[in-house]
Structure formats: structure tokens, C-alpha cells
């Protein structure tokens, strides 16, 4: 089986980092590519969404939000007891794994395209819906339900703004809305930029992610075996769980594989920003190291094919 070219760009980035090449992408390019990907994914999802009535999607959305909230609640005790992590760290990592990785989702979409496997376009809505609740859950896990200290109040305001108006949610939602409102015909003139170039831009972004991840990989030894184990086993179980939910909800093979990927993926954009604000005492090196240094490459290289295979099996394939 041939490795997808976009994955090869990721490996090239990792190689550049490990071989200490002087290759460096400008920070402005990183930001530009991520803005592009978020908008493009939103737009595409919005165009698909326009094909469905809102009421049709209400129940599935609810199921996704509720079952999605179970992920951090399951991860937390494991991290706390088995991993013996501090409360703040366990809560923050749980939030990262409850939330989702937009780029992992994009790579899974590319993978399905490669297998010529169709999927329900409205899964993008689930991507947006899954991104947020885990962040709030994570804060509750860290602080407890009754937050007594008065100076915690303003941070809640800040957190809510970060969660709802943070860059990644804002662009995803904005794109979703524009795509839905304008519909395929009116979006068509934007296709040359947002859809035709999508895969190339994803490749460049993965090159950069490889460079960034390589720095995290080098740090792996500091984390200890438990965290590395968690960062590979938890995604597999979460993916299995997501696939089961997808099957139950009546999604196609493609949709099931995508939902599994969402459950299995760990955030490294929205979650770090939100946790830094709401749970600053958590060590970001742990959560980002696990999600970006281990889970992200794991999902790209191994996870996505596995989740696809699970989806096929669940559909009797």
C-alpha cells in the first residue's frame, strides 16, 4: 500500500526536524495555511449542510455532543489514577483528547477520497460541535463544580470567548454559515481557491506540522511511558467508540470512519489556547507533547486506516 503524498510531506517535515535541517516555514505562513484550512473545511461542510433540513440533523447532533462529552470524563480518571498526573494536568489532557484535530479530519477526508469512499458532508458539523464541549468539561474537571475563588469568575468570561470566538471555531463556523447560506452555485467562484488548492495546502501545512511535531518527538522521553501509551491506546478505543456511534446513527462507511477519526483525534489548536487561559497551572508540554508528538502522527500513519477498517467491518465489509 502506497503512503498518501500528503503524509509524505509530514514525514519530510519530521525528517527535516530530526536531521536539524535549517528548513523553517515563516510563522505567517503557518497562520495563513491554518486560516485557509479552517475556512475551506467550513465552506465545504456548509455547502453540504445546505442539502439537509436542520431538523434532520438535530438528533444526530445531540447524540454526538453527549457521547463526545463522555470522552474527557473517561480519560480523566485514567490519567489521574493510572498516570498519577496532577489534577490540572489530567483535566487539561482530557480536554485535549475530548476535543478534535481539524487537520487529522482533513487527512481522513483525503484518505476516503483516495479509497473513493463517499461520506455524509454534514460530518463537518460534528467536527465543530465536538470541538467545544470537551474544553468546558476540562475546566470543570480541573476546578470542580463549585468554584469558590472570586477571581476565577473573569476567567470564565475569557474562556467562553475563547471557546466560542476563538480563531478555529470562528472560522469553521463562519465558513459553515457562508457555505450554507450561499449554496454550491454561489460558492463556485471561490472553488478555485478553497477547494482546488485544498490538498496542496494541506500538504504544505503537514510539512510544517512535521517540523513542529519533530520537536515534540525529541522530548518524548521526558514524558514517561504511561503518557505515550495513553496517547496511542486511548485514540484507538475512542475511535472504536466513535465508529460504533456512527454505525448506530446510520452513517455510511465513510461517515462512520470520519466520526471515529474525530473521536480518536486530539486537539492541538483550540484546546491548548483554551487551557492556557482557564487552567494555566497545567503544564502545556504534557498535553501538547501527547497530542501533537504522539497521537497526531499515530493517527496519520496508523489510526486512520484502522478506523476505516473498523467502519468497513461494522458495515459488514
Amino acid at each position: 500500500m502506497i503512503i498518501e503524498p500528503v503524509i509524505l510531506f509530514f514525514l519530510l517535515g519530521i525528517a527535516a526536524g530530526l536531521l536539524r535541517s535549517d528548513l523553517k516555514l515563516p510563522a505567517a505562513l503557518y497562520e495563513t495555511l491554518s486560516i485557509f484550512l479552517l475556512l475551506a473545511i467550513g465552506l465545504k461542510g456548509g455547502v453540504e449542510l445546505a442539502k439537509h433540513r436542520v431538523t434532520e440533523l438535530l438528533i444526530p447532533s445531540l447524540i454526538v455532543v453527549v457521547t463526545g462529552a463522555l470522552l474527557p470524563l473517561t480519560a480523566y480518571p485514567v490519567l489521574r489514577r493510572l498516570g498519577r498526573l496532577k489534577r490540572a494536568d489530567a483535566a487539561s489532557i482530557a480536554a485535549h483528547y475530548g476535543s478534535v484535530s481539524v487537520v487529522t479530519f482533513a487527512v481522513a477526508v483525503t484518505y476516503l477520497g483516495h479509497q473513493q469512499q463517499p461520506y455524509e458532508g454534514y460530518v463537518t458539523l460534528f467536527l465543530v460541535l465536538l470541538e467545544m464541549p470537551a474544553l468546558v468539561t476540562g475546566v470543570f474537571l480541573a476546578k470542580g463544580l463549585a468554584s469558590p475563588a472570586e477571581d476565577a469568575a473573569p476567567q470564565w468570561g475569557r474562556l467562553m470567548r475563547e471557546v466560542f470566538f476563538g480563531k478555529s471555531i470562528f472560522l469553521l463556523l463562519g465558513g459553515l454559515f457562508i457555505g450554507w447560506y450561499a449554496g454550491p452555485a454561489h460558492i463556485a467562484p471561490l472553488d478555485r481557491l478553497f477547494f482546488d488548492l485544498f490538498k496542496g495546502v494541506l500538504a504544505l501545512f503537514l510539512l510544517e506540522m512535521g517540523l513542529v511535531a519533530s520537536g515534540r518527538i525529541a522530548e518524548l522521553k521526558r514524558f514517561g511511558l504511561f503518557l505515550i501509551g495513553f496517547a496511542t491506546v486511548f485514540p484507538l478505543l475512542a475511535g472504536l467508540f466513535g465508529a460504533a456511534i456512527g454505525r448506530m446513527m446510520g452513517l455510511s462507511v465513510g461517515g462512520t470512519a470520519l466520526l471515529a477519526t474525530l473521536y480518536a483525534s486530539a486537539s492541538y489548536i483550540a484546546a491548548p489556547a483554551a487551557m492556557r487561559i482557564a487552567v494555566p497551572e497545567a503544564n502545556p508540554a504534557l498535553s501538547i507533547g501527547a497530542s501533537l508528538g504522539v497521537t497526531f502522527p499515530f493517527n496519520l500513519l496508523l489510526g486512520i486506516p484502522v478506523y476505516y477498517w473498523i467502519a468497513l467491518k461494522l458495515h459488514g465489509g
Binding site: A27, P272, R276, P280
Partner: protein, 100 residues
């Protein structure tokens, strides 16, 4: 040309904190601030500005000595334990003291 003396307080920290610091320093009596993007290394490891989680900023505030002291005390209390941050203070001569 008469000059006057003020303090220059420089904070180097995670970019994440920029908007909060900006509010803090104005509230504590500064009349302005200047920010540049930075990268670096310290107790929290290498922060290479390759992506958003590892960006630093460098904020400068020219102000009166007691304002500088107040800002320093506030930052120390609020951020030092949980954030990558350093801070230092210097003497400067300024032209229009009423501005600072």
C-alpha cells in the same frame, strides 16, 4: 532641551498573554506600551515561534517608578508561577515627561 527620568519595564513572555498584559499595564497607570514578536529560551525550554503555542512577545512600558513597581508586582503575583515570563527594569531619559 530638558529631559527627565523614567523607568523602562520590559516583559518577555508567552504571546498568549498579550491582550491581558495590555489591559493590566494600562489599568495600573501606564500611558502606553510597545510590543514586538520574539522567540527565545529560558526555564520553560526553547520557544521557537514556529507555531502559535511557542510564540513569545516582548512588551516595553515607559512609566514612573512606582507604576513600574506596581506592574512588576502584579505580573509576579498573577503570572510568574504558571507562565513563561521574565521582566527587567531600566532607567531612561525621556523628552516629554508628561507623556509617561
Amino acid at each position: 532641551m530638558t529631559t527627565d527620568h523614567r523607568k523602562l519595564l520590559t516583559v518577555i513572555c508567552e504571546a498568549e498573554l498579550e491582550s491581558r498584559l495590555a489591559q493590566d499595564v494600562m489599568r495600573l497607570g501606564a500611558h502606553g506600551y510597545t510590543v514586538t514578536d520574539a522567540r527565545g529560551r529560558g526555564a520553560h525550554g526553547v520557544r521557537d515561534a514556529a507555531w502559535e503555542a511557542t510564540l513569545n512577545i516582548r512588551m516595553e512600558v515607559v512609566c514612573e517608578a512606582q507604576v513600574a513597581a506596581a506592574i512588576a508586582a502584579h505580573l509576579r503575583k498573577t503570572y510568574y508561577d504558571n507562565y513563561a515570563m521574565i521582566l527587567f527594569i531600566q532607567d531612561v531619559e525621556v523628552l516629554r515627561p508628561e507623556k509617561f
